[in-house]
């Protein structure tokens, strides 16, 4: 594997090949330096040349022993080298994934390379690549799939519990959605696959730890094992994460009802926490996503092929019957009393779940206190969490807004001195302004984020908000461009507002509340967000949250406490129940791979070390996978050579591959009904049922 980035720069020569500017290298673990330089120069030149002829840049450059996926990104060129055996399509997906990860943690390339030293970024690349190489098996390479826990190996209730932890966290303010990983594998996720893929890979701790923006000040306040770092979503991702609340707000009555219909375990809780809109954001959306992901069942939590899920098709019953038994235990100490009272208040039909959620409500009792503390926070430096780091972005991106030129030096001062005595500046992050704006403007604020504070401090206020939301989004609903236009307005107005705090009143709260850092990033099509991670041994809870989370100690605390106990419990259970690398049963009589096209996860029974027969299987799978991707009408395939036969079928939702390991009687290849290759479909149907794969 080799990754290279290259800046073609301004090439004026007719033969761009000869003007290869100094290349930047991200990671080239396997090639020599001068070869890297050669490759970079040559490929950049060829890409340019091909673009000239075809009016579109090449996406794939193949050599005899290597192939390169190529992506042109403004003045940058991304190139990823892969082995030739890897299907073309996987190679391209892999590159997209890498770019996504890089942008997620570092923002747009151009900014990243301006703001961070090459050394740092190189180290970061090393970490990414290392993680990817470590975790990516042959099958994962072919499908570019996510690294997930083998769900057949996990107690289904633990999966359920993980899902509940996520739902609980979603009720905390600012939190959008999240996922839980165990030893780098997905246990449960609310995020779309593309986003989960990014969360799966962690940047090097070394780079992010000393970063003043996230740790020096907040770090003290943060509980151990918790990190909050700025990340960047693409606009589509941001839209999809924030999509739902609008709908819900638009029909507040209908939404809960519908929710209950489709999945009883979703609490319709507009009032359970302070910020209804945000809750709903994170809460409902993933639900919908999961629903889409598992079309065979309306209830994602029980749709997992757990084998014993007969009753799983009745989610309500399932929950009522099973949950109390299992899920009660770990979080019980969190004061179930309060929880249950809340449950009563909310008339939730399945209150047994609540103890799990109780963690939320305890802090809520002290909410006024924490929030007042919160307002005090700015002076102690909390807002810088969002501040200096992004201010730097503003500056470095060369933001054309003239006002911004005045501001940055001051900001820089803050970020470097980290003085707690600059509250005026902090207002740029909105933390202070929030305070001022709260009473009057929240009702006019067209942005959901505005509502967190009012919502949390006083419940009634949240209602106007949601009304507002409804109003604000009613017009453009259904149009894709809405979110963008909102975002654009946001990002464009933000720099001005942030740079000139005194002008905030004119701009209204709408402009300032979003972090100014948003401006440059979202202009590049990226939306800054926070990634909250909490790790408990091998278990990691990752939550994507709106920007203000970093400045909101109370919210952080809430998230932390609401999940801490459950996470600990889950970790213990996972550790105990997960088989310790069960030596693949020697009696394996077949190989199979089941790929979920929507969730982008694999189920397979291939061992770690591939036997020759397994390698034949892999080769066939990679060929057929490419064809399934290319020919949409293709739905069934059997291929056979002298030593093996592989059967594959696919539908819009999944692809399944099956190979029998028993040494087949050698045939002639002449068409004969006795040929074992043609009985594979039947065998696959029969054998895979017990893996929860239904091919009927």
């Amino acid at each position: 594997l080799l990754t290279t980035r290259h800046r073609p720069g301004c090439v004026t020569s007719d033969l761009p090949l000869y003007s290869s500017p100094a290349p930047d290298f991200a990671a080239f673990p396997q090639t020599l330096l001068d070869q890297q330089e050669l490759l970079c120069g040559q490929i950049a030149g060829v890409v340019r040349c091909i673009s000239d002829i075809s009016a579109s840049a090449p996406a794939l450059v193949r050599l005899r022993k290597l192939k390169f996926a190529v992506k042109v990104d403004g003045e940058f060129l991304w190139v990823l080298g892969c082995a030739v055996e890897l299907p073309d399509i996987s190679c391209k997906q892999f590159l997209d994934q890498l770019i996504g990860v890089f942008n997620f943690y570092n923002g747009p390339v151009s900014l990243a390379y301006k703001n961070c030293s090459q050394e740092d970024l190189r180290a970061e690349w090393d970490t990414f690549i290392e993680q990817i190489l470590k975790n990516t098996g042959d099958l994962h390479k072919i499908f570019s799939s996510l690294w997930n826990l083998d769900r057949t190996q996990v107690e289904p209730l633990l999966l359920l519990k993980a899902a509940l932890i996520l739902q609980t966290c979603q009720r905390s303010p600012h939190v959008l959605a999240g996922c839980i990983l165990y030893k780098g594998l997905i246990v449960s996720t609310q995020l779309p696959p593309s986003l989960t893929a990014k969360v799966l890979i962690h940047p090097a701790a070394s780079r992010h730890q000393p970063c003043p923006c996230c740790f020096v000040i907040l770090g003290a306040a943060l509980p151990p094992n918790v990190r909050i770092m700025p990340v960047f979503l693409t606009e589509e991702e941001a839209t999809s994460l924030r999509e739902f609340p609008r709908e819900q707000a638009a029909s507040p009555a209908a939404a809960p009802a519908r929710l209950q219909q489709c999945s009883a375990q979703q609490p319709p809780h507009p009032r359970s926490t302070g910020a209804p809109t945000d809750n709903a954001t994170g809460h409902v959306e993933p639900m919908a996503w999961m629903l889409a992901a598992t079309p065979e069942s309306a209830c994602p939590d029980v749709a997992w092929p757990d084998g014993k899920g007969e009753n799983g098709h009745l989610p309500g019953c399932d929950l009522e019957n099973v949950k109390p038994a299992k899920l009660h235990s770990p979080p019980r100490d969190e004061g179930p009393g309060l929880g249950s009272s809340l449950v009563k208040e909310l008339h939730l039909p399945w209150g047994e779940e609540e103890p799990d959620l109780s963690a939320i409500h305890i802090p809520e009792a002290q909410e006024t206190e924490t929030s007042s503390g919160y307002f005090a926070l700015p002076s102690t430096g909390a807002p810088d969490g969002g501040g200096p780091c992004f201010e730097e972005f503003v500056r470095d991106s060369g933001d054309p807004a003239p006002e911004s030129r005045d501001a940055p030096p001051v900001v820089m001062a803050i970020s470097s001195v980290l003085s707690p005595s600059t509250p005026e500046m902090l207002s740029q992050n909105g933390a202070l302004e929030q305070h001022d704006d709260l009473p009057g403007d929240s009702s006019q604020a067209p942005f959901p984020r505005e509502d967190h504070l009012p919502g949390r401090t006083s419940r009634p206020r949240s209602w106007p908000c949601s009304d507002l939301r409804q109003r604000g989004t009613a017009l453009p609903e259904g149009e894709q461009g809405v979110e963008r236009s909102v975002g654009a307005h946001d990002s464009c107005s933000a720099p001005g507002g942030s740079a000139l705090p005194e002008s905030q009143d004119d701009n209204g709260p709408s402009a300032d509340r979003r972090d100014p850092g948003l401006a440059p990033a979202s202009c590049m099509g990226l939306v800054p967000t926070n990634l909250y991670t909490h790790s408990v041994n091998g278990l990691v809870l990752s939550l994507l949250a709106e920007e203000p989370l970093r400045g909101d100690d109370a919210a952080i605390e809430e998230v932390y406490h609401s999940s801490l106990a459950s996470l600990n419990g889950l970790e213990v259970h996972l550790k105990e129940t997960l088989p310790k690398d069960a030596a693949a049963s020697p009696s394996r009589t077949y190989n199979f791979t089941h790929y979920d096209r929507i969730q982008n996860v694999l189920t397979a029974n291939l061992p770690q070390t591939a036997t020759p027969q397994d390698r034949r299987f892999l080769r066939a799978v990679s060929l057929m996978h490419s064809d399934f991707a290319q020919l949409p009408a293709l739905y069934e395939m059997t291929v056979r050579n002298a030593s093996t036969a592989v059967y594959a079928c696919c539908s819009p939702a999944q692809e399944t591959y099956f190979q029998q390991l028993a040494a087949a009687a050698r045939s002639s290849g002449f068409p004969s009904p006795q040929d074992g290759a043609f009985s594979l479909p039947g065998k696959a149907r029969q054998k895979l049922l017990k893996h929860g794969v239904n091919l009927l």
Binding site: L15, R48, S56, L60, L63, T638, S643, P673, A677
Partner: protein, 702 residues
């Protein structure tokens, strides 16, 4: 949007071909950037300007990384570039309209390279000499050579797209045993024997004669002294004939009278100056007549006398309203051509070609032959292949070149210099043979180069370094190639070299016309509806189409798949047949790709159809042999095919290693069923079908 380019390491264009759309896109590109007043650079120069960076980069990569580009594809596969390095020449194929996949493009390059070999023989071994052939310094000649190959590529593209036999690269036969027998007898008595017994034959010896009806083979006869003709060579000859006398495959859809076609050669006169306008006109006409999307060369579709582009020769025929049945008329056109364009290698009439053959019991690639294409009627042609007296020389040269190439390889691999090399058994033998050759041939240059080599390789006092040896070796090789070129190309029949006298050609032509005159119309129809099994649709319910190929003989059998409006096939006509045709073509592509990756059996369901592909081996008696691991090839290997790199021949040789005792035969069956047919029924049908076809193919035909 198609383009093919052959270039040297230094990015000099040796050959190019573009379709009209690609040329137009180039024109736009250069028209925009250049000043208004200035004339656009020649197409050749435009291409070289655009692609030079890629070519040079690819050479740099090869030098520095010993790896080079094989393929580029842009987003959504809008553009596909395939690069293949043959010796010192880089072949590039570009497609910008989604009509060809990587395999197709690579195949096209391999076929082009094979066509170069058929035309230039062993001269292709040497980069510099082949450059002289492909890019003659004389501009006029260069245009002629390029036009000839451009036309061949167009013809190949048309045949591959339209004819099943070119899609699977196997010869399709007209199945009519009685007629076949009659023809074979006529070919034997009145053609081969008549020529070989004629005192006027000027040393030429007739080896093979065959009859083609459109692109299908009617009868084939080889003299006793001849070695067998490879399927690849036969296909290449069909391609050459189709290029020169194209069949009116689409034209007849609208025109009930098969219109006469003029010989290909006369077209080179007007087209030479006005290539692009002619092509545009062609495109316009083909769309106006609602033929299918493929634009055919204009020359063979002439529904009415159309003054202007036509040369006088063809207009005469049109006015007469009769096909050019007599050779003298053809000759008129040729004569005009000869006077206009001297030294034309593309002139019709006998042509030097190089084919595999056995000479004196030993196999030799690229033995010089002379091909005479004698048109009997439009669509029906006779081809006569003769061997010139020089073929023993070709064998010697070929063996020597082989030995030197081997030596070169050894020198490059190991550091076998001086002493080790001298003691090599290969060297002693080579020295002896070379000494003898040089003594017999004389020749100043070869003598001096050989002496130089000997002094480097065998001198005890100052043995040359391996680098020096390599240089010397290269020089000797070049000299040998030069001799080959001088002996077989410079004095080629097309360039006034010895060939059968015209009277003799005319004689055999008219004899065959006489023999076949009653069958003419029948044959023309039969070739369009070459039904092999009238009842297959009834016998195998659910079966839509099949192609059965005997790879040992390189022959195929399939129901006709004509999308022509006038002639219906078993599948009816018009859109349905066209739809089935695209399905069949995609099946062929997919089967090839999986075979390349080692899969000999393939079954897949797509939409409403189920495709199956089987490859198996059997012995002479039809007993099915066990399948073996078919080699897994890389994506950039030469393709699965016959014309460019004879894949099946290699496969058979590979298989025979494990079955030395018996003659191994290789068969392929492609079947297209409706997808409602259950797999077991489908497989059973395929087996039954293969058995029946095997029985019919047992009929002695050649």
């Amino acid at each position: 949007m198609k383009c093919v380019l052959v270039a040297t390491e230094g990015a000099e264009v040796l050959f190019y071909w573009t379709d009209e759309a690609f040329a137009e896109s180039l024109r736009l590109k250069f028209g925009r950037s250049e000043n208004e007043g200035e004339e656009l650079p020649a197409l050749e120069d435009q291409l070289s300007t655009l692609l030079a960076p890629v070519i040079i980069s690819s050479m740099t990569m090869l030098e520095k990384l010993s790896d080079t580009y094989t393929c580029f594809s842009t987003e959504n596969g809008d553009y596909l570039y395939v690069l293949h390095l043959f010796g010192e020449c880089l072949f590039v194929a570009i497609n910008g309209d989604h009509t060809e996949d990587e395999g197709d493009l690579r195949q096209k390059l391999c076929v082009l390279k094979y066509l170069f070999e058929v035309h230039f023989g062993l001269v292709t071994v040497d980069g510099q000499l082949v450059r002289k052939e492909l890019r003659p310094p004389d501009r006029e000649r260069r245009v002629q050579v390029w036009e000839h190959f451009q036309s061949l590529l167009r013809t190949y593209g048309r045949l591959r797209e339209r004819e099943q036999c070119f899609a699977v690269e196997a010869v399709e036969r007209l199945i009519h045993p009685q007629l076949c027998e009659l023809c074979i007898e006529a070919l034997e008595r009145h053609v081969i024997q008549a020529v070989n017994s004629s005192p006027e034959r000027a040393g030429e010896e007739a080896l093979h004669a065959f009859l083609l009806v459109h692109s299908k083979l009617l009868a084939f006869y080889s003299s006793h002294s001849a070695s067998s003709l490879r399927p690849a060579d036969l296909l290449a000859l069909i391609l050459l004939v189709q290029d020169r006398y194209p069949s009116e495959s689409t034209a007849e859809d609208d025109d009930p009278q098969p219109s006469p076609r003029k010989p290909r050669s006369s077209e080179s006169i007007p087209v030479q100056q006005a290539w692009s306008p002619a092509s545009t006109a062609r495109a316009r006409r083909s769309s106006a007549t609602e033929t299918d999307s493929f634009s055919l060369p204009e020359e063979y579709f002439t529904p009415a006398p159309s003054p202007g582009e036509q040369s006088s020769g063809s207009t005469v025929w049109l006015d007469e309203g009769t096909p050019p049945t007599d050779a003298p008329q053809v000759q008129i056109a040729e004569d005009t051509l000869q006077t206009l364009v001297p030294h034309s290698p593309v002139a019709s009439g006998p042509r030097r070609i190089f084919l595999d053959a056995s000479v004196k019991e030993s196999h030799c690639p690229m033995v010089p032959h002379t091909a005479y294409c004698l048109p009997l009627w439009p669509g029906i042609n006779m081809v006569l292949l003769t061997k010139s007296p020089g073929s023993p020389l070709a064998l010697v040269l070929c063996q020597l070149l082989d030995a030197f190439s081997l030596l070169e390889k050894k020198l490059k691999e190991g550091q076998e210099a001086g002493t080790t090399l001298r003691s090599h058994p290969l060297m002693g033998d080579l020295r002896q043979r070379m000494d003898k050759f040089v003594k017999n041939r004389g020749g100043q240059e070869i003598q001096s180069t050989w002496l130089e080599f000997k002094s480097k390789a065998f001198s005890r006092s100052e043995p040359g370094s391996s680098w020096e040896l390599l240089q010397a070796c290269g020089k000797v090789k070049r000299q040998l190639c030069a001799i080959y070129r001088l002996s077989f190309l410079t004095t080629a029949p097309g360039r006034g070299g010895p060939h059968l006298p015209q009277q003799l050609q005319d004689k055999v032509q008219s004899i065959m016309q006489e023999k076949l005159t009653d069958w003419k119309d029948f044959l023309l129809v039969k070739s369009r509806r070459n039904v092999t099994m009238v009842s297959y649709l009834e016998d195998f319910p659910g079966l839509v189409h099949f192609i059965y190929v005997d790879r040992t003989t390189g022959q195929m059998v399939a129901p006709s798949l004509s999308s022509s409006k006038r002639i219906s096939s078993e599948l009816g006509r018009g859109p349905l047949a066209t739809f089935i045709r695209t399905k069949v073509w995609s099946l062929i592509r997919l089967a090839r790709r999986y075979l390349q990756k080692g899969y000999a059996t393939l079954l897949f369901r797509e939409g409403d159809f189920c495709f199956s592909y089987f490859l198996w081996f059997e012995n002479e008696m039809g007993y099915k042999l066990q399948i073996i691991e078919v080699p897994v090839l890389s994506d950039d290997s030469t393709c699965i095919g016959v014309l460019g790199g004879d894949y099946y021949r290699k496969l058979l040789r590979y298989y025979s290693k494990s079955h030395p005792a018996e003659a191994v035969k290789c068969h392929e069956l492609l079947a297209l069923h409706l997808s409602v047919i259950p797999t077991d029924v489908l497989v059973q049908q395929a087996g039954e079908l293969a058995r029946r076809l095997w029985e019919t193919s047992r009929l002695p035909l050649l």
